[in-house]
């Protein structure tokens, strides 16, 4: 493949440069990237070195909290007819245990690992949207803590972590417990999506020059695929939580079979997210394993390309297995078998990775340090969980084991072996890099063996308890069923696991003490860029990468990087900057100006969390105020973006000059907007699926659509909106005296046309007699129209925003990124509007 950007790779030969660096250059770099100096700056910090540590810390806090809930459950189940926990409390605790582990620990923990490690690993100063990472973190922390605290008031959700209706409908769950789950989780997933956008753009656009895709670290590959899966899968849970909350709050019957809804729709939507979620959690952990195992074996990963293919294949096939959670719902037998076949097929790429790890260990000389123990222990446990996974992929076996403790054992083997052990391996492996101190090896071995034994003693007997007939989610059981012994063994094992975690917490506290030496260095002889000497600015200079294992293959790299002999060795403009490179070949494209710490994203996160949480307690006025404040903070944040530098091009080292401002497809902002719109498009597509699905359940309840005249009016308005949105950015780029005014007004016209089209569509359906409370058709049509109206509403904020930027002189041909992104958003909203209009008017036809 030829050069992507016209960049001449011969220029790389100028590095490492030989001339000396100016005096004071390193000091200036340190000053520009300095850490918090005042107490509140610990909160407004945005650098990944801080946000990443906060993020990992918060995820581990939720791991411990959910673990304590598990110990409470195991205490209750240790004996038959035990009265340690009342039934209702037990229901809340098992729901919160699953929910917190899956939503507040597992996904955020691996995302946090990405935020913490990727910049150093890729040779970037930071990820491209550090404020977005910080916003995602604060939203997650505030929302997560408030959600967890619902337990102390008896308001925690109690319908199981997958919240099936009709159990979670207002009929059977009349309190606000279920609302906490629906609004809280929907909101926290938005924060996960923000993190995924950051990771995708970061991996594709901020790699060190020369780090072509074949030299991309395997962990970064895993994070890239993980983030793409989040973009496709998480819209399903956002939509499902939205629909169930609409049913509970407004009585729109999406899941009420009596009025043309169907509870199975929830299962389709939830598991379209829920099963890929398992692989979403597993892939980054697998990426960590594929990084750590070659280091502990001191050899290269066997079958690197096959492992990349296996991760891609896992990403794809995992979207074809969602209905294996629904084998007992009465789906058509042939459909069931398609999902059964996919569920067996997904074990093939997972197996490829497992064999690659075993082959790597066999090819090298393994050192049994703590990361190695956790990696190998995780491998053993994951394989055992995978084998029972193939068993439950077979429909007849699943019918027997469904909803029994066998499934509890299976899922814990997969999740703990596939994610928790690799995460601990990662913590032990990378902590010397992050905190400059290793954890204790002696303690680490104790912790590993306690955890490994504790896990197996807890969950191995559960296979038997399940096969002996013990169902999941029961708060107690009768004696004399043969369940007492395996249950008491499981409880003993769970406390061993808990003791291991407690010892680990003590060791972590010792590690982060504010005194003592901090100079661990590369104690495991890791080959990645993250092991080069670094500071808060990441690497002193950004190297030219020539190998998949630069630390092993490029001698003197650390010395030359630390001496500033590569790209961007200082901060001569007194700004935080990083190099943006091309997605395939990592050729330098431009210099990105990075943001400085500020408080707007923190306030934005607090008010956004406040909006969702206050909505839960039905204080609507306060929720609206909180929402408006969140919008104000985000607008204030966006107002300061899109700032060109005085210089059009700059020397980034070795005489290589790159632009300081770009817009359009080259810019990182364009990529982020496109990914955001893919998320929105997925929500809309899945809502379309819900519409067709509910039609297939009760077509007899459906009424004819409104007259064709309103359809034509809507399409004409959308055509106007689309044309204006597409014409606005080129109008600005014409660079004539009135370009900015014309462009801003075109954007405003597009916004008004979109809002008008939405209004006409909603009015037409109301006049046609469609009632959102009456039937599944009414509920889904109004849901689709509301989604489109939400986008039209956002457009109505963006239009005046564009006009204001023009009035303040912030729009010009040389500063066009904001207008281009608004144009892109409006064009997408137009296409989405056409989809909604045509689907609801033409299918199934009048």
């Amino acid at each position: 493949m030829s050069s992507e950007t016209g960049f001449d790779p011969e220029l790389y030969k100028r590095f490492p440069t030989q001339e000396g660096r100016p005096e004071g250059e390193l000091k200036q770099l340190e000053d520009v990237w300095c850490g918090p100096r005042k107490p509140w700056e610990w909160i407004t910090a945005i650098n990944n070195n801080y946000i990443g540590v906060y993020y990992v810390g918060a995820a581990m806090l939720f791991f411990v909290l959910a673990g304590v809930l598990a110990l409470l459950m195991r205490t209750q189940l240790a004996l038959p007819l035990n009265g340690f926990l009342p039934q209702e409390t037990y229901n809340q605790i098992f729901t919160m245990h699953g929910t917190v582990m899956m939503f507040l620990f597992a996904v955020p923990a691996v995302e946090a690992l990405g935020v913490l490690l990727l910049p150093q690993m890729l040779g970037a100063r930071d990820l491209p949207f550090p404020r977005l990472s910080a916003y995602a973190f604060w939203a997650y922390l505030v929302g997560g803590l408030a959600f967890f605290c619902s337990l102390f008031f008896g308001l925690a959700p109690n319908g199981g972590w997958f919240m099936y209706p009709p159990l979670t409908s207002t009929t059977y769950s009349p309190g606000i417990n279920a609302d906490f789950w629906l609004l809280g989780i929907g909101f926290i997933e938005i924060s996960a999506i923000a993190g995924a956008i950051e990771i995708i753009v970061g991996v594709l656009k901020t790699r060190a020059p020369g780090m072509t895709l074949d030299k991309l670290p395997i962990f970064a590959w895993a994070m890239l695929i993980f983030a793409c899966m989040i973009i496709i899968a998480f819209p399903a849970v956002i939509l499902s939580t939205l629909l169930l909350e609409l049913e509970r709050a407004l009585d729109w019957p999406f899941f009420d079979a009596a009025r043309g809804g169907d509870p199975v729709l929830w299962q389709h939507l939830f598991w379209f997210f829920g099963h890929p979620e398992v692989y979403i959690i597993f892939l980054p952990a697998a990426g960590a394993m594929s990084t750590i195992i070659p280091v502990v074996a001191q050899t290269r990963l066997v079958g690197h390309r096959l492992v990349v293919m296996a991760m891609l294949a896992t990403g794809f096939i995992s979207f074809g297995v969602w209905a294996h959670h629904m084998f007992t719902t009465g789906m058509p037998r042939i459909s069931t078998n398609y999902f059964s076949a996919a569920s067996m097929a997904v074990s093939v790429p997972a197996g490829v990775q497992v064999f690659a790890w075993i082959a790597t260990l066999a090819a090298g000389k393994m050192r049994f340090n703590t990361p190695a123990l956790f990696a190998v222990g995780g491998l053993v446990i994951f394989v055992m969980g995978g084998l029972t996974g193939v068993m439950v992929a077979m429909v007849p076996f699943d019918w027997q084991a469904h909803d029994s403790y066998f499934i509890v054992a299976h899922l814990h083997y997969v999740l703990i072996g596939g994610m928790v052990f690799p995460l601990f391996a990662a913590i032990y492996y990378w902590l010397p890099m992050s905190s400059a101190r290793p954890l204790s090896e002696r303690w680490g071995r104790w912790i590993f063996w306690l955890m490994f034994a504790g896990h197996n003693i807890t969950f191995l007997p559960m296979h038997l308890t399940g096969l002996m007939g013990m169902p999941r989610r029961v708060y107690t059981y009768l004696p004399d069923r043969g369940w007492e012994l395996p249950n008491v063994i499981s409880t003993v094992g769970s406390f061993m696991f808990g003791l291991a975690v407690l010892l680990w917490i003590v060791d972590m506290l010792r590690n982060f003490r504010p005194f003592g030496a901090r100079e661990a260095g590369n104690i495991f002889n890791g080959p990645g860029l993250e092991w080069l000497p670094n500071g808060l600015y990441s690497l002193r200079s950004i190297p030219v990468v020539k190998s998949l294992y630069p630390g092993w293959d490029q001698p003197d790299l650390g010395r030359d990087v630390a001496a500033g002999r590569y790209f961007l060795p200082g901060a001569p403009r007194g700004e935080r900057e990083t190099i943006v490179t091309s997605p395939l070949n990592a050729e330098p494209q431009y210099l990105q100006r990075m943001p400085r710490p500020s408080s707007w994203h923190v306030w934005g996160a607090i008010f956004t969390a406040g909006f969702f949480l206050i909505l839960t307690v039905q204080a609507y006025a306060a929720a609206v105020i909180s929402g408006l404040l969140a919008v104000y903070c985000i607008i204030k944040w966006c107002w300061n973006l899109d700032r060109p530098m005085p210089q059009a091009t700059v020397d980034i080292g070795g005489g290589v000059r790159v632009p300081t401002y770009v817009s359009g497809q080259t810019s990182h902002g364009w990529w982020a907007m496109v990914i955001t719109l893919i998320v929105a498009g997925m929500v809309c597509l899945l809502a379309g699926f819900a519409y067709v699905f509910l039609w297939s359940r009760r077509p007899d309840l459906w009424i004819a659509p409104p007259d064709t005249a309103t359809l034509v009016q809507g399409l004409v308005l959308l055509a106007v909106a689309g044309a204006a949105a597409l014409a606005a950015p080129p109008a600005l780029r014409l660079d004539r005296p009135r370009s900015a005014a014309v462009s801003a007004l075109l954007l405003l016209v597009a916004c008004i046309a979109l809002a008008w089209a939405s209004w006409i569509d909603i009015s037409a359906w109301i006049q046609a007699g469609l009632d959102p409370k009456a039937t599944g058709q009414g509920a889904t049509v109004f849901a689709l129209m509301s989604w489109q109206a939400l986008f039209a509403g956002i457009a109505l904020i963006m239009g005046p925003f564009a006009v204001l930027r023009w009035l303040f002189g912030l729009a010009s041909a040389g500063r066009s990124a904001t207008f281009e992104l608004i144009g892109l958003f409006l064009a997408f909203t137009t296409v989405q509007g056409v989809f909604v209009l045509l689907l609801t008017r033409l299918f199934p036809g009048g």
């Binding site: 390309r305 990349v308 794809f316 058509p332 037998r333 459909s335 076949a341 395939l584 297939s696």
Partner: protein, 102 residues
């Protein structure tokens, strides 16, 4: 774009096949029954088309691979070819229910 297509093409065809056979059986379930012979044959026909598409994709990757020398290209071809093989096996494996009938 070509590089990404090389790497993911075989798996994209698998995804299209999976969604296709699921959609065909769901439609069959609404109109008649999901495993009625006509709907099964429709799914089988679609599966054969997907197998042919996988074969075409593998041929394209093999031809492209001969002209490629750089590291990214070799990675794309390697990943694409093995992905195409996995995708082909996946399509054939998932077409089995259309033949068996349940």
């Amino acid at each position: 774009m070509r590089g990404w297509l090389l790497m993911t093409g075989g798996l994209l065809i698998w995804a299209a096949h999976f969604m296709g056979v699921y959609a065909i059986s769901s439609l069959g379930d609404v109109v008649e029954t999901a495993d009625a012979p006509a709907w099964r044959m429709a799914a089988l026909g679609f599966s054969l088309a997907c197998v042919a598409a996988e074969a075409g994709f593998l041929l394209w990757v093999a031809r492209t691979g001969r002209a490629i020398e750089d590291g990214v290209g070799r990675l794309a071809v390697g990943v694409g070819f093995t992905g195409g093989l996995v995708g082909s096996l996946g399509v054939i494996w998932q077409a089995a229910p259309t033949l068996i009938g349940y």
